[in-house]
């Protein structure tokens, strides 16, 4: 480690208790009802608290604004009892009506929130959000029984409902502030600037210089302020992984958002105590386009899947501790681990492809394109697969990298044969992964539609028994592996550099870290 003559941020932080946080990207929004990125999440959870909060180790729901709650026997009605000392940062009490207002705001179609559908589990929420029904008429399942009691009624018993509440889309916004800035149904207002922002979280927004720093300072009005050890958190939107690493190594940052894949080997060898590999709830995969030949034929899709040596990809290409994706939902997602069905069997792959070629009267397989968004990491994986498929199937694949926005519009237009994709879970339940392959889901983008699959998910949504629910999910996974509209490759791992002085920071599947438990100390905890 290098050291500058003046004490660096990390050394100084032991005294001033400021956490210096590598944020990656500058968030587009700091409004919980409009946010749509990991970087926004990382800042918003410092500023706002939902009905429940998270256990720093398990992410299990612990009391937040609500000090206790009851769930009806049928699992449909949740009654939350607010703590009396829950306050907004300006001193106003946090009331049940603030939540009604907030849910009405995010579901308001005129706000055009990208994450409003997260609330569709609320009874009639979809009617109001998507079907043009007025709020009064729609009778959405959110009622303030009194100032300190909120009742939420769901469409279906949702076993992961409390976990869902820790997604920022369920967070409250301070109604008088929203009204003051006319932001109820409007984007791009300035209520989210320092000085204007009123939150109810452990910190308040004290500074925001775009592309430079977002600073939050301990909120004395927070009900659990005594637990909060940090005085400030400074978030730095450093997009370059190399710059982030230099910042970390010079003691400017306590932790980085990412690590450049090319640097992993070096850092593993030289700084084994500082580099961390933590499971992350996400799957890296490829989509097939079922609208077009040759991937309209299931034999071809299966052949490509069987010709993919996922173990070799994670061991020789990505090398960041990823695990081979032998199913689509990552293992242990909310207690559910699908059976391993996407296997490597080059002989069977070859036979299937030959069968297809004979059937179609083709001498050779047509040359096809694999599209991916420009990135060194994606390129390496694509090249490895290109070689693997050439070797195992004798097919020629042309690689085509595209700038991000061009790539997105290409996928949306379904102008591809094979395309790279990734999916990070929004909450710890298999539904966040399996839902996207429903016929009508906007993320499907493969052209695959299976009535039984949709039905299984409907059944799972109404099922409250975990074992039966998991077996329905597993049946979905089985259908996915049999029809193979996708090619899962690996499960993500979050690779990060972290100073040993950061305590109370535990690896969690969603990479969530409630800041109120974070401490900066030398030596052992």
């Amino acid at each position: 480690m290098s050291s500058c003559t003046a004490p660096n941020n990390v050394e100084q932080a032991l005294g001033d208790k400021i956490l210096h946080f590598g944020l990656g990207a500058e968030p587009q929004y700091l409004d919980p009802h409009l946010a749509s990125s990991v970087s926004a999440h990382n800042v918003i959870i410092a500023l706002i608290e939902g009905l429940v909060s998270e256990d720093p180790k398990t992410l299990k729901p612990v009391p937040g604004v609500a000090e206790r709650w009851e769930i009806s026997e049928d699992g449909l009605v949740y009654t939350f009892h607010f703590r009396k000392n829950a306050k907004w940062s300006n001193g106003d009490p946090v009331t049940a009506n603030d939540f009604v207002y907030s849910y009405r705001r995010i579901l308001n179609p005129n706000l055009a929130s990208q994450y409003a559908s997260m609330l569709h589990g609320l009874k009639n929420a979809r009617r109001y959000h998507r079907e043009g029904t007025s709020w009064e008429e729609a009778n959405v399942g959110v009622v303030a029984i009194d100032e300190h009691t909120l009742q939420l009624t769901l469409e279906n018993p949702t076993p992961y409902f409390l976990e869902l509440l820790n997604h920022y889309s369920w967070f409250p916004a301070h109604p008088p502030t929203i009204e003051k800035f006319d932001a109820f149904a409007k984007q791009g207002t300035s209520w989210t600037r320092p000085g204007n922002y009123v939150g109810n979280g452990p910190f308040v927004l004290s500074d925001h210089k775009v592309n430079s720093v977002i600073e939050v300072t301990k909120n004395p009005n927070y009900w659990d302020a005594d637990t909060v050890s940090l005085n400030k958190i400074r978030f730095y939107p450093i997009e370059s992984a190399d710059t982030e690493e230099r910042a970390f190594r010079s003691g400017f940052l306590h932790l980085t958002q990412t690590v450049s894949p090319d640097r992993i080997d070096y850092l593993k060898e030289n700084y084994p105590d500082l580099i961390h590999f933590e499971s992350y709830l996400g799957t890296y995969f490829y989509r097939f386009n079922l609208d077009k030949a040759p991937f309209d034929d299931v034999r071809v899709r299966l052949a490509f899947n069987l010709a993919t040596d996922r173990k070799a990809i994670v061991e020789k290409v990505t090398k960041g501790g990823q695990t081979p994706a032998v199913c689509f939902t990552p293992p242990e997602t909310g207690g559910f681990t699908p059976k391993a069905r996407f296997k490597f069997d080059p002989d069977k792959a070859k036979a299937l492809l030959q069968d297809y070629l004979n059937d179609k009267g083709l001498k050779s397989f047509p040359k096809i394109e694999l599209k991916y968004n420009t990135s060194e990491g994606h390129k390496k994986v694509a090249e490895a697969l290109q070689g693997m498929w050439k070797e195992n199937l004798g097919v020629e694949i042309q690689l085509l990298n595209m700038e991000w926005k061009v790539f997105l519009s290409t996928i949306a237009k379904r102008d591809f044969s094979i395309a790279r994709a990734g999916w990070i879970g929004d909450y710890v339940d298999a539904n966040t992964f399996l839902h996207m392959w429903r016929t009508e889901d906007g993320h499907n983008n493969t052209g695959w539609s299976n009535a039984r699959y949709d039905e299984l998910l409907d059944l799972a949504a109404r099922e409250s028994n975990a074992t039966r629910r998991f077996s329905l999910f597993d049946e979905c996974e089985k259908l996915l592996s049999e029809h193979a509209p996708i090619l899962p490759i690996y499960f993500y791992v979050h690779v990060t550099l972290r100073s040993p002085t950061v305590k109370g920071w535990h690896p969690t599947l969603l990479d969530h870290h409630p800041y109120k438990y974070v401490r900066l100390l030398k030596g052992k905890e």
Binding site: G188, F252, H443
Partner: protein, 305 residues
Amino acid sequence: MSKFILLRILQAIPTLLVIATLTFFMTRMAPGGPFDSEKNIPAEIKAKLESHFGLDKPLHEQYFLYLQNLLHGDLGPSFKYMGWEVSELIAKAFPVSAQLGLLSLGIALLLGLPTGIIAALRKNSKYDYLLMTIAMIGICLPTFVLGPLLILIFSSWLGWLPPLGWYALSDMFLPSLTLGLFYAAYIARLTRAGMLETLNQDYIRTARAKGASPLRVISRHALKGGLLPVVTFLGPAFAGLISGSFIIESIFFIPGLGKFFVTAAFNRDYTMVLGTVLFYACLIIILNLIVDVIQATLDPRSRNL
């Protein structure tokens, strides 16, 4: 002279209009839009989102609306940095870039000019070859190599300077040096060439024959003519320097204009692209005008051109 300046300003108006028009339509022709993301949103929600920012109107209507707002100095809201106006983001980022640019220019001139003059005076000597070789390396070495290299030496090994940021005075040295060295190399070569040409002129010989001291010949006579190519180069170079450098800003994590300029294109942040392009165009026009005025002062012949 004032007529000349006025004419140039009038000429700038159609230039800016052409730039605004081309940029407007080119950004719209690029596939994808500011609100495309990996998380698909239903078409009607996306339509609402676009209508928030007038993107649902016919393109020509959007164009005229943009020009109309532009006349009032309104560059519109940024689509990427929600809640911020393009003009205020430029107003915050430009001083940073200008600071970095000016410091770099200072370093470039401080190193480049004496190097060029010495090389010219000691033409074809070992000093000349050595200095020009260094300058050539300086030109060839890209900033994304030089930057990390300087960080490695001054920050990681010696621990003298911080590797990134734009908070204290000490933060400014490495990025300014990285950017300045590249320009110093250019200036050195241009100064040398300009000086050599001037030193062969008749009036220099006359000055020498009249018994002027070598120092006086250089400072009063040769330098004035010899610097002309440097001044010509400095106009656009200065505009480039103070309008930000994406690479330097990324390496050293500096909140300058270069980053806004480049990422705006990737984000399809239409208003930000237009704002930064127009701002950059204005800068170039103004600086070129200043260069022309300086040139006219240095070289009376160019006044009539």
